[in-house]
């Protein structure tokens, strides 16, 4: 009823090419944003922030980052965990070296450092493709983890080899450390997440994004029509790594507070983010959110259902969790190989035609 173009006249090119051309969609988007910024901070508690919202927002940023590289530019990467570690360690070194600087700056700089590292490891992508590139990025993953384990300078020579986030502030509010309020940490991550999504969305609609997609669809054809593969691939690696680095920095400093590189940023993390992107939908910003939500929220929801409501033993629930999440992944990939984003797209198409589908 509400979900149609009818009566919504676009008189400028700008309004015609906006992200949400349908009025209902647009208002829904504003309502979600307003709810996230104006309502959630007042009702959120420690559990919701630390167990649900922070991991969701942080993984969403990582998934957006990987989606740019894999979904939009077609370069498969298994180095996400390693790049997140770069972001985390860069943030740690910056936090401890310049304690008085705002965390906003540190997180952005950590993203910048990761972008540089990403470009470096992206160089082989000019010569190798597909599975071979995946192996090359896998090497990055192992090399980076080995480096952060091996060189004590990265963890400030601490006895345990761990990095711990000291208390740091943004505009006088503590965002790291145990005394940070749930609402501040949530808002801090939300701001990064929303800005990342906006930037990613607009990049992928512009020249840069179109050159990425041209490379993804057929690199030789793209080169012939004048897309510079060097610039396109390396810019995809840089932008992607920037987002992944930001998420790594937030993951360490805001969410966990103490990190051990081998455990927090292992190959499992790379796979987790890759699964988020695949399940959410390759080449879709909404898909990054959907995938992150699916893989972060579903296990928690299953645990709450099994242990807290049904009172089952924790190990049975933990095993069921693996089975159910795994089965759902297979189910979604069979029913909709293009991910949750495609389901969403189809639902929207159907809604537009409802109640007279043709």
């Amino acid at each position: 009823m509400f979900y149609r173009e009818a009566g919504d006249f676009h008189t400028t090119y700008t309004s015609d090419s906006q992200t949400f051309p349908i009025k209902f969609d647009r208002y829904r988007y504003y309502v979600v944003l307003a709810f996230a910024f104006l309502v959630v901070p007042f009702i959120i508690n420690d559990y919701w922030a630390n167990a649900i919202m922070l991991p969701f927002l942080i993984y969403a940023i990582a998934a957006i980052g990987l989606n740019i590289l894999t979904g939009y530019c077609g370069q498969v990467s298994l180095g996400t965990g390693g790049f997140m570690a770069v972001g985390a360690y860069a943030c740690y070194k910056l936090m401890t070296a310049f304690p008085e600087v705002s965390m906003f700056v540190h997180v952005l700089l950590a993203g910048g450092v990761t972008a540089l590292v990403g470009v470096l490891f992206g160089l082989p992508s000019l010569r190798i493709k597909g599975f071979y590139l995946a192996v090359a990025t896998l090497a990055a993953q192992f090399f980076l983890l080995w480096l952060f384990n091996k060189v004590p300078w990265f963890y400030n020579y601490s006895a345990s080899g761990q990095i711990n986030a000291p208390e740091r502030t943004v505009f006088g509010f503590e965002v790291t450390g145990p005394n940070a309020a749930a609402s501040t940490t949530y808002l801090f991550c939300l701001v990064f997440c929303v800005i990342s999504a906006l930037v990613a969305r607009n990049l992928t609609r512009g020249t840069v994004g179109r050159s990425w997609m041209a490379i993804r669809d057929m690199d030789i054809a793209a080169e012939i029509i004048g897309v510079n593969p060097l610039r396109a691939k390396l810019s995809a690696f840089a932008v992607s790594s920037f987002f992944v680095g930001v998420s790594g920095a937030l993951f360490f400093s805001i969410y966990l507070g103490a990190v051990e590189v081998g455990e927090a940023f292992s190959i499992q993390k790379s796979f987790l983010v890759l699964f988020m992107v695949i399940i959410g939908g390759l080449g879709s910003i909404f898909g990054s959110f959907a995938g992150a939500a699916f893989l972060v929220l579903l296990p928690v929801a299953l645990k709450v259902l099994g242990v807290d409501l049904l009172g089952w033993p924790t190990d049975i629930v933990a095993h069921f969790q693996l089975v159910i999440v795994g089965a759902l992944i297979i189910f979604f990939l069979i029913v909709e190989p293009h991910g949750l984003a495609q389901l969403w797209r189809l639902a929207k198409e159907k809604l537009r035609l409802w109640p007279f589908p043709h």
Partner: protein
């Protein structure tokens, strides 16, 4: 009819009356993943002891105990989720059984005012209670362990190990890296040569490490391993025919399940211990009577008497004794986390107390103080007898080299205090 009404009324009054809140002990366990082999028996022992207290004594000081279990899979992210999910239920003490999760939780419990007990694991410098108000790691820590292993090697070699080669095979994490500094200091003091061989999580792949041991031929190998890593290491050591009596594991690397897969070849393998071994204690009679036979045992109820089960039992006993002490200090059976902390800091474990609990000789006697949250640091050595399939304690619980350890603890805790602007709080 009248009587029926009265009983009904009485029943209703009892049910609705202001019942004392349960004493809540969260159990951050892991029954899944690569470390479940150690996590399951520990958690079973931990909750069985509280079940025993409820069934036999009606709780602690008349208040029932409650164990909330939360699965962490030895994963720090899930550990944080478990902590946040349980901290609203008035928990008295956290025992995460993971050094990684311990590092996550130290700042959190300090800010939230909930004590944490990391028995024989976690951050070693938490032994300095002056800095770490909310964290306890009695009765012994990883650096005691390192020194205990070296002391044992000294014993065998008539106190002279200069020029010997000792290799450390360790889990490449905060847990495995803990003893390195101590061992380096001890290497300087005793003149032995230390080589370091890290094993990455989860530890199933150790071919290259043991190849190096085969090539370098160290006189002794010390292992800081956990979970599946232990079994693999012992199997690999057997494969290269490394003499088992020269292979010493930390107390987390010495369970039945670690040595059984290697069969007879594991005979003679040594592991350090915090507690006695076996089930020859009166407390086990009660456990069988009140917990096992009534079907209230945690898990499958098949872990009684194993090394990690005993360790869980011991951890629960220390927590229960600290709760009792807290009830005495504050004169109320209904204690909260802050009172529990006072109880832990004033905990005193004597022969008589252990005897009364049916656990005489189960662990060392000790007392905790404001400055010393680490206990006496007494370490025993156990050895595996493959034919009898049992661990035997082959040494006394002996003191460790505090001349080396104490300065390290002081330095590390001073660094933490400076990082967090902490003042000295003890007299």
């Amino acid at each position: 009819m009248k009587m029926k009404l009265t009983t009904l009324a009485l029943g209703a009054a009892l049910a609705a009356g202001p019942a004392l809140a349960d004493l809540t002990f969260p159990d951050l366990s892991y029954r899944t993943g690569a470390y479940a082999a150690g996590g399951i028996p520990f958690s079973d022992g931990y909750s069985d002891y509280f079940t025993l207290l409820n069934e036999r004594d009606g709780g602690i000081g008349g208040v029932k105990t409650r164990v909330i279990e939360c699965e962490t899979a030895y994963n720090t992210e899930k550990g944080v989720e478990c902590y946040e999910a349980t901290k609203g239920e008035n928990p008295l003490v956290y025992q995460p059984l993971s050094t990684g999760i311990t590092y996550q939780l130290i700042p959190k419990v300090s800010a939230d005012g909930i004590p944490m007990h990391t028995m024989g694991y976690g951050r070693t410098s938490a032994a300095n209670g002056d800095t770490f108000k909310w964290v306890f790691n009695y009765p012994a820590n990883y650096w005691n362990g390192a020194s205990g292993a070296i002391n044992h090697i000294l014993d065998i070699n008539d106190d002279d190990i200069s020029g010997k080669k000792i290799a450390l095979v360790y889990h490449n994490s905060a847990f495995g890296k803990e003893p390195i500094r101590t061992l380096e200091e001890l290497a300087k003091k005793h003149g032995f040569e230390l080589s370091l061989l890290p094993v990455d999580h989860p530890g199933q792949e150790q071919k290259s490490q043991w190849l190096q041991i085969r090539r370098d031929r160290p006189d002794y190998v010390i292992m800081y391993g956990w979970g599946v890593m232990n079994q693999v290491a012992i199997q690999e050591a057997a494969n290269i025919r490394f003499p088992m009596e020269n292979f010493i594991g930390i107390w987390w690397s010495g369970a039945e399940i670690d040595v059984l897969p290697a069969g007879d070849k594991a005979n003679g393998y040594k592991a350090l211990s915090l507690t006695a071994v076996g089930d020859d204690f009166p407390v086990y009679d009660d456990l069988r009577k009140y917990v096992l036979e009534t079907g209230k045992a945690a898990g499958n109820g098949d872990q009684l008497g194993t090394v990690p089960y005993n360790r869980g039992l011991y951890a629960a006993m220390l927590a229960a004794e600290a709760a009792k002490t807290a009830q005495e200090i504050h004169g109320t059976p209904d204690i909260n986390a802050a009172m529990m902390r006072d109880g832990m800091e004033a905990l005193e474990l004597t022969e008589e107390k252990m005897e009364a609990l049916g656990m005489a000789g189960f662990g060392p006697t000790f007392s905790v103080s404001c400055r010393n949250h680490g206990g006496p640091g007494l370490v025993g050595v156990t050895q595996w007898d493959a034919s009898a399939k049992q661990w035997n304690l082959i040494s006394e619980f002996a003191p460790t080299d505090m001349d080396v350890i104490q300065p390290l603890i002081d330095a590390d805790s001073a660094a933490y205090a400076a990082e967090n602007n902490l003042e000295s709080r003890c007299e």
